[in-house]
Amino acid sequence: MFSPSDLLLIPFDEWVNSLVRDFLVPNFRPLFRAMQVPVTAVLNALEAFFQFVPMLVTTAVLALVAWRTVGRGLAIFTLLALFFIDMIGLWPETMTTLSMIVTSVFFCTIIGVPLGILAAGSDRVWAITRPILDIMQTIPSFVYLVPIVMLFGVGMVPGIIATIIFALPPIIRLTNLGIRNVRGDLIEAAEAFGSTRWQMLWDVQFPLALRTIMAGLNQTLMLSLSMVVIAALIGAGGLGLTVYTGLGRLDVGGATAGGVGIVLLAIILDRITQALGEKSGGRTQSLRQTLVSLFRPRAATVDEANKTGS
């Protein structure tokens, strides 16, 4: 039976090989090395911090945040979950994973939010960005591990870079969406009073899009978590590594312990960021106010809610 490959066999794999090996790697190696520098710096600082702070302090702070943002239920859950993680001996791995995730979310935010804002401001930028995001989200994450290893090498930082690439799309998409969905009459009102682009962005568009942006942040965070095991394939550490080595040795117990750690961490972070998003989206709170309310005595916030409610 005839098939097109009889006529012409395209050496696609060869082309990609030569593109990466003969063009990207020799020419842009310094650039890729330079890209690692800020990621390394943030990661090392966070990792050192989380490993340094005593377990009980970290747990107390996380439980407090959970209490403030969500409620007593999640606070108790946080306490129990973190105690459990510590008791199964995975505290250091969990802190490594936490610092990896925070690093990834940090870079996703500082890259994704401005990109989303740019895309919202111009249909042309969005027309270019959108297919790229589609591709990023449809390529299976294993596929780009190879070029990443070739360009960045193996280790923690390449693992995080893979995570950043994987987790970036939702925050760009939702920032774009949030800003585009700000009511047209509010934009017009801001313009009619003589706002500059910055004032418009800062006073009107950003705060009104915040709820949607926070939803994007939550998704980005969840995607980062889902990448920790895959990132372990190229040398990232933490809970992902525990799972991965368990897998390699057919050590069901070790793999499960790592997996449970990831799930518990995921639940805590998911609930907290979701609640933050809901709060900031309400008419009453800006991000700043939400953060401030974290540190205020609880009774005061309740009072305030009553006052504005009446």
């Binding site: 009102a189 009619a192 009073f193 003589g194 706002s195 006073d203 009453t284 504005t308």
Partner: protein, 408 residues
């Protein structure tokens, strides 16, 4: 008086090839034909008008007639396809973005049909928005915002959020936001359309009251002719993007330019458009020293039942034909008008709308129309009051004549 806003041959075409649409328009094609053949919408065609400082210029028209398009061009939210829009000396259609921003910050504020309050800001912060944009410090702008809120009676709500306020209150916040920057020009795009009739009336009265002290230059958009007639110093009636008539309320009601305008004018409340000054006839009066015979003769000549009596320049009272003839028959010594003078008489200021005269006229006595100094400027006979309110040709002509007289 100074002209604050000037529009000269302003056109706005929504579409890909606006110049082509303008050429077609020149050839005499209609808005519908251009839309059909090119898919382009004529928003505004050939708008020309001046707004004097301190005046309210009302643009009235049905939905889709291009009112919003017109008012948005005045502060540059929409660029006209051709023509000039001058705010003082600046052409907002062609000036630089920086200049435009400065004009918006310093001179023009806008009040929106659907309020357009920022939901994430408190009422005070909303009212202070224009000041914040200008870079004023937090404490000072709060003070000014509170003052503006106080003007519209909402100071107590300063720290609430827009969603906690009713529609009418939100619109007052919109007004306060406009007033807080103390702009010279206020653009109001159907600000009261979303309100129910009672609040609407209240807001109109409030605007008139505010305008008495603030003396802003206002361009006010509405689709309600009664509202236009109540508020406007001058009124433009718009249809299909074109002005069909521009004039004062009385001019439009008395002389509608075409059938379109007369159809509108047909069922408006004339009692609110015309004032006592318009309905007044010339003040025939006698002096207090006159004898009853003299007064009776004047009445017979003028065919009146009552006559005002002046003491020098002041109004002393009114005498009726009945009382006078009774006193003339009863052969008493003093037969002067003073003996039968009624000092209780109905009076109204020149600018009192006619509908407020109904009650006064029910006494049967003619209503004295007085000017600011209390001098008699004319009288409104009960019959002529109702003639003025009827819409048939004869009486409107009559009304026009008397208003011309009253003005001279």
């Amino acid at each position: 008086m100074k002209t604050k806003v000037k529009a000269r041959a302003v056109y706005k075409v929504f579409g890909e090839a606006p110049q082509d649409a303008l050429k077609r328009l020149e050839r005499g094609e209609t808005k519908e034909k251009i839309l059909e053949e090119t898919g382009q919408v004529l928003g505004v065609q050939d708008a020309n008008f001046d707004v004097e400082e301190g005046h309210i210029f009302v643009v009235m028209g049905l939905s889709g007639s291009g009112k919003s398009t017109l008012v948005r061009m005045l502060n540059g939210l929409i660029k006209p396809t051709s023509g000039q829009i001058l705010i003082d000396e600046d052409d907002v259609a062609s000036c630089s973005p920086e200049r435009l921003r400065k004009i918006r910050r310093d001179k023009i504020a806008m009040v929106f049909q659907h309020f357009a309050l920022f939901p994430h800001r408190t009422i005070a912060e909303n009212a202070a928005y224009g000041l914040k944009i200008k870079g004023m410090g937090a404490a000072e702008r709060r003070k000014k915002a509170l003052a503006a809120l106080d003007q519209v009676g909402l100071a107590a709500w300063a720290d609430s959020y827009p969603s906690e306020l009713s529609g009418g209150m939100q619109q007052r916040v919109g007004l306060a936001r406009g007033l807080a920057t103390d702009p010279q020009i206020l653009l109001m795009d159907e600000p009261f359309s979303a309100l129910d009739p009672l609040i609407r009336r209240e807001m109109q009265d409030e605007l008139i009251k505010l305008q008495k002290t603030l003396k802003k230059t206002i361009v006010f958009i509405t689709h309600d002719l009664n509202e236009a007639l109540t508020l406007g110093d001058r009124i433009a009636i718009m249809k299909d993007g074109r002005f069909v008539q521009v004039g004062t309320a009385q001019e439009i009601v008395a002389n509608p330019a075409d059938e379109y305008v007369s159809a509108f004018v047909a069922d408006i409340d004339r009692g609110r458009v015309f004032t006592a000054g318009h309905a007044a006839t010339e003040p025939a009066a006698v002096q207090l020293s006159a004898t009853a015979e003299e007064a009776l003769r004047v009445m017979e000549e003028l065919n009146r039942n009552a006559l005002y009596v002046l003491d020098g320049e002041k109004i002393a009272g009114v005498v009726t034909y009945q009382d006078l003839s009774a006193s003339a028959r009863g052969d008493r010594d003093e037969t002067g008008v003073a003996s039968v003078l009624t000092t209780e008489y109905p009076r109204a200021a020149e600018e009192t709308p006619l509908h407020e005269l109904y009650g006064l006229a029910s006494s049967g006595l003619p209503v004295a129309v007085v000017n600011g100094e209390g001098r008699l400027k004319g009288v409104v006979e009960p019959e002529s009051l109702f003639a003025q309110l009827s819409t048939d040709e004869h009486s409107t002509d009559n009304a026009h004549n008397t208003s011309a007289k009253a003005a001279s």
